[in-house]
């Protein structure tokens, strides 16, 4: 009896510990966001009272960020820039991956390493150079400048993930399509693209998140309120006086820009996992 008892209690404790750990992690990860949501619905001095449950439901913060500043415009900017970055990254990444993963040519290895090397420079290191480039191209204070500069983060991992994915696709399928009369473009659009769907979703979503959240370049390369993207706009929300930090509105704005990301990840979560591991293991 005693032995069977310990056998029952040991695993039970282990499982309890496991779930406690999971619960702890969830609290650490989710509580700040939860508190931001709760705060965003408060008004006035209520913000400075500590409430763990929603105490009031005022949408004043939400209406004021749209009324007192061009926040809708900022969201549109962010959305436009992010989508453009995703589109360009995927197109360039896919075509580059096809070349790097499928064709043998001199310097292929070095090219791949160079692509990876680009992503190792810290943002600050490229900031001044990037600024000059953007000024010369006449892209300062315009979405074009942001799109161009974000590509230096998104292209390296897009190219790498897609290259390793394309390399693992069976060559014989491609050859079968060639025998069936498919040209390069048909091959890319009708054979490779459908097979690469999971990898495209993953890399596209990661690129979107990077572009959506970026702050430093967005701050440096834009000047006027209506060219700003959301992260900068949130940081620059000001209160009635210089001694007041408008926490309510900041929280409301944060919630607005975080919800779409969470929704995207939830919708595509299965794809993301299969895409992240797809390059690693064949099959």
């Amino acid at each position: 009896m005693a032995r069977s008892g310990t056998r029952g209690i040991g695993p039970a404790i282990a499982r309890l510990g496991f779930w406690l750990l999971v619960a702890g992690l969830l609290v650490i990860l989710l509580f700040p966001f939860y508190y931001a949501v709760v705060t965003s619905f408060k008004s006035g001095s209520g913000i400075f009272e500590v409430d763990y449950l929603p105490s009031e439901l005022s949408v004043a913060n939400y209406t004021s960020i749209f009324a007192e500043q061009p926040f809708a415009r900022n969201i549109l900017n962010s959305l436009g820039v992010s989508l453009a970055v995703v589109g360009i990254s995927l197109f360039l990444g896919l075509t580059a991956a096809l070349a790097l993963g499928r064709f043998r040519f001199k310097g292929r290895r070095w090219m791949l390493l160079a692509v990876l090397g680009v992503s190792m420079f810290p943002q600050v290191a490229v900031l001044s150079g990037m600024f000059e480039l953007i000024r010369v191209l006449g892209l300062f204070n315009s979405p074009g400048g942001l799109i161009l500069s974000y590509l230096i983060f998104t292209l390296p991992f897009t190219v790498w993930v897609l290259t390793s994915f394309i390399r693992d696709l069976p060559v014989e399928v491609e050859e079968a399509a060639i025998m069936d009369g498919a040209g390069p473009w048909t091959l890319l659009t009708r054979i490779f693209l459908p097979m690469m769907w999971p990898a495209m979703v993953t890399t596209g979503l990661l690129a979107f998140i990077v572009a959506w959240n970026e702050f430093l370049f967005a701050l440096t390369f834009t000047l006027s309120n209506d060219q700003r993207t959301v992260p900068v706009a949130i940081a620059l929300i000001t209160g009635g006086s210089e001694f007041e930090v408008p926490w309510g509105r900041i929280m409301a704005a944060s919630v607005i820009v975080t919800v779409p990301l969470i929704a995207l990840v939830l919708v595509f979560q299965r794809r993301i996992v299969s895409g992240l591991t797809a390059g690693a293991v064949k099959g």
């Binding site: 014989e172 050859e175 079968a176 025998m179 069936d180």
Partner: protein, 358 residues
């Protein structure tokens, strides 16, 4: 339908010559099997015919028309790949229709062709399935169906049976054979399995190191192998190739610790000198101990196959040899000494230096 002609075909990758000048005529409607050990260039040769590999030198003609620079899809050939290479995101129907659609065939014709071929291959009920929902044999049939639908002049098979289990392989082999009879199209089939080659082919081409060792009917290759390579490759278990020499019109085994004189082998009047003696395991006869012309054979391993029994052991004290005997006799066991007589009219003599048939 068309004949296929290879004239001085060569292929090099960088500095490595893979195909070193191949001349071959495959008649219209023939079933030709390219066979050889791995790395002999048989798959490369097939891929050159398909158009997936460039031809370094020489000429390839299909139906009398040189196609060296014709795109794969325009050569009128279709290919079945080793891994089947089905399009994973398309249904069976779409897989088979893909080539026709790319060739801008009318929709009704596509539909009709695909249904027709599906009927032949008993794929009618599977047309809406994706490849991952099919068994190995079904995938194989879809791959063959995709090749047939395009109504090619020549079919190419690249080791299509090697991924199937033994029972299914025998069944698919039969189906391919039936299909060939039904369609009457020229087929070129690559395999490393000599049994597959023997059973399917009208014409076997044995390749080794990028050159043709011998081409001919299965019977020709079995009865009169041109050299020691073909002799050792065709037939299972493999032919015994024993170092020997001709002495005064008879063949004497080298290294034998017992006297061996084998009289009456054709060509053994060629003059004294070293040779290779080839005897197939199934061409030994068991005789009573001490009978004239008998050679001692010490059994080391016995493989009982049911119908016959394969014995591995030592012939005349020295060379390793294999003997195949009918299973009706009282089976010998390990350590037994038997007396065997080679069927002299079925022995082969090869030049020791060149390996060529004498």
């Amino acid at each position: 339908m068309a004949n296929v002609t290879l004239r001085g075909l060569r292929k090099s990758f960088d500095d490595t010559d893979v195909i070193k000048g191949v001349d071959l005529e495959i008649e219209d409607g023939a079933f030709c099997v390219l066979v050889g050990p791995s790395g002999c260039g048989k798959s490369t040769l097939l891929r050159m015919i398909a158009g997936l590999e460039d031809i370094t030198a020489g000429e390839l003609a299909i139906g009398g028309e040189v196609v060296n620079d014709v795109a794969p899809a325009d050569r009128g050939v279709s290919m079945v790949f080793q891994s089947y290479a089905l399009y994973p995101h398309m249904t069976v129907y779409e897989n088979m229709a893909f080539g026709l659609k790319l060739a801008k065939t009318e929709k009704d014709t596509v539909e009709q062709r695909v249904r027709e071929v599906a009927e032949i291959l008993q794929l009618g009920d599977l047309l809406d399935r994706k490849p991952k929902a099919l068994s190995g044999g079904q995938r194989q049939r879809v791959a063959i169906g995709r090749a047939i639908v395009r109504d090619p002049r020549v079919f190419l098979f690249d080791e299509p049976l090697s991924n199937l289990d033994a029972a299914l392989r025998v069944q698919m082999r039969l189906e391919i054979s039936r299909l060939h009879r039904r369609l009457g199209t020229t087929m070129i089939h690559v395999t490393h399995d000599q049994v597959e080659a023997m059973t399917l082919a009208d014409k076997i081409v044995v390749l080794n190191g990028g050159v043709i060792e011998q081409a001919g009917s299965p019977r020709e290759l079995y009865d009169t192998p041109a050299n020691t390579f073909v002799a050792g490759f065709i037939g299972s278990p493999a032919m015994n190739l024993l170092p020997a020499r001709i002495e005064g019109g008879a063949v004497v085994l080298d290294d034998a610790s017992q006297p061996t004189r084998i009289e009456g082998i054709g060509k053994s009047d060629a003059g004294d000198g070293p040779v290779i003696l080839g005897i197939r395991p199934e061409h030994f006869d068991l005789v009573e101990d001490g009978a004239g012309g008998g050679i001692g054979f010490d059994v080391e391993v016995v493989e009982d196959l049911g119908d016959t029994c394969v014995l591995h052991g030592v012939l005349a004290g020295a060379p390793q040899a294999t003997v195949r005997v009918p299973a009706e006799i009282a089976l010998p066991s390990r350590g037994d000494r038997l007396t065997v007589v080679p069927g002299t009219r079925r022995c082969h003599l090869f030049d020791r230096d060149t390996g060529q048939r004498m």
